[in-house]
Structure formats: structure tokens, C-alpha cells
Symmetry: C2
DNA sequence: CCTGGCGTTGACGTCGGCGTCAAGGTCTAC
DNA sequence: GTAGACCTTGACGCCGACGTCAACGCCAGG
């Protein structure tokens, strides 16, 4: 199987496959003419990579899974290193979700206040200045590093 | 006030301020010697920018707020354009949180299965092959575009 | 006068995961 | 023999929000 077919079968591109090889993530044998030659096993590895990527794993995080499969284990997550990545990712996800929910709460609060103030002005009443400035948040990291 | 002092007072860097000016987000007057000259009003604008950034807003998303303040309104969100950004951001946050929670569920499921299989192997029993491959997810976008 | 601490512009580097050329080689079908 | 569908390597582009360096100007204190 050559690179184009593998890419099509895995729903990705040849460029991505060459990139994975460059990272040493998905090495390829070579045919006599210099073309990359892949087998069915490589398709499994590639599917593992894509699935994890769809879950938001970075390529380096997929490496333990790929190596696990290459070592002949039944699943990419049959190895301790993969389980460790799962654990870390779950912790990251929890942190990220918590952060986003807190941010959502804050933004929703500001939005509600702003709309309220707009409506109060529309009525024509002046009222005392609400004086409620945005609280200085402690620099939420947002991106999961 | 010169750029260094403003940066310190706002808890950011001179490089960021020059970048904001380059974007036309935070224009600066110039002193006779070519130095950027800022006033207290600029500090307010800058604080608005930083607060929104801490909430995960991109710089372009902060622009309506800044322009609203520059127009003399009491708050950055006193203008319709800012409220519209709030609305879009809330929708984005909801989408993002939903996606992350779904991913969390999936990953937790895989993790649990992998640990279960490991323990079953540890007991020494072989059992029939579970044959449960990862379901092909419909390419979750993960990053908020 | 000189040092040091400010300021200036310009330009390149960073991170990840590729996209997109460019310039060529290989193989098959007609 | 030639078109065209594949393959190769190499190199630059992209996104956002700056970091970091270079090489220079300005100004106050000793």
C-alpha cells in the first residue's frame, strides 16, 4: 500500500503521513523505487492516532499508544504509559471544563448587567452609578498549555 | 505616562502595548522626543483588554469594547456591538464545554475499559477477545475555531 | 564624559499540525 | 512517446500573541 491509499483509507492526507514519519511516529518501509510502503498494521496505528487526535490529544501524546501497538499489544492502551496519558488527559479535561464554566458564569454575569443597564437607560431614569468594575481575574490560562 | 509605566501598572509588557498599537487597538500620542505618551484613560482601555483576554477573548473581539470606551461610554459593554460579542462568546463557550464533556466521557470510558482488561489479564484468565475497537468519532473540532 | 536605564524601529522566533507550492522522478495506459 | 496520476524532497506559509534580539536614540546622575 502506498501513501495515497493509506491516507484515503484513514481519512487523512499524504502530507500528514509524511509529517508523522518525520516525527518518528509512523515510520514507513520503502519500495525499490523509493516510494513509501505501508501494511495493514500501519492502518491500525494510523487509526489510533486519528482517534486520539479527534479527542484532542496532541501527537506526542499519541506516541505511547502507537508504540504499544507496534510492540504487538492488542490495544494501544494496553500499556502503562498509555494509561498514564489517559489519566493526565482526564485531569486536563476536568481543569479545562472547570475553567470554561467559571468563565461562562462571569461572562454571563457581565452580559446580564450590561443589558440591565442598557434597559435602565432606555427608561430614562438615571439612578446612581453602579460602580461595578470587572473583577481582576487571576490570569486564567485558557489554553491547555 | 510612558510605555514602561503603563505596562507595569496594567501587569503586561511593553511589547504587548506596541503590538496593540500596531493593531490600532490602543493608539498612543507621542511626546516631543518620539516616546509614546499615555494617559489614565489608556489605562482603563488596557484593563478592559486584559480582562477580556483573561476570559479567553481574542484581541479582535476586544475591539468593540475598547472603541465603546473611546467613544466616551461609561463601560466597554455599553454598546450593542459589545453585547453581540458577549452573545457569540457565550454560544462558543457552551459549544466548547459540551464538546469537552463529551470527550471526557469517551476518554473516561476507554480508560475504564483499558484498566479492566489489564486487571483481567493480571488474574491470568484469558476469556474471549473483547473486540471493542474505538468508535470513529466525527472529527471533533476541539479548538474553538 | 560616561554609565545605565529608559525609549525607538525592525525583524525574526515560538508553538502544532499540517497546507501549499516547486521541481523533479516513476509507472501505467493508450 | 506522451499524458496523467502517482510518488519524492525541500522549503516556505499560516494562525495569535507576543518574546527576544539588534542597533540605535534620549536623558539624568555622578
Amino acid at each position: 500500500m502506498r501513501i495515497g491509499e493509506l491516507a484515503r483509507r484513514a481519512g487523512t492526507t499524504t502530507r500528514a503521513l509524511r509529517y508523522y514519519e518525520q516525527l518518528g511516529l509512523l515510520p514507513a518501509r520503502r519500495a525499490g523505487n523509493g516510494y513509501r510502503a505501508y501494511g495493514e498494521e500501519d492502518l491500525r496505528l494510523l487509526r489510533q492516532i486519528r482517534t486520539l487526535q479527534d479527542f484532542g490529544f496532541g501527537l506526542e501524546e499519541t506516541r505511547p499508544f502507537v508504540e504499544c501497538l507496534q510492540a504487538g499489544h492488542p490495544h494501544g492502551d494496553s500499556c502503562p504509559a498509555s494509561l498514564e496519558v489517559y489519566r493526565r488527559k482526564l485531569a486536563e479535561l476536568d481543569e479545562c471544563i472547570d475553567r470554561l464554566q467559571e468563565v461562562r458564569t462571569q461572562v454571563a454575569g457581565q452580559f446580564a448587567r450590561a443589558e440591565r443597564e442598557r434597559d435602565e437607560l432606555a427608561v430614562g431614569t438615571v439612578g446612581e452609578p453602579p460602580q461595578c468594575e470587572w473583577a481582576a481575574q487571576p490570569a486564567v490560562e485558557w489554553e491547555e498549555k
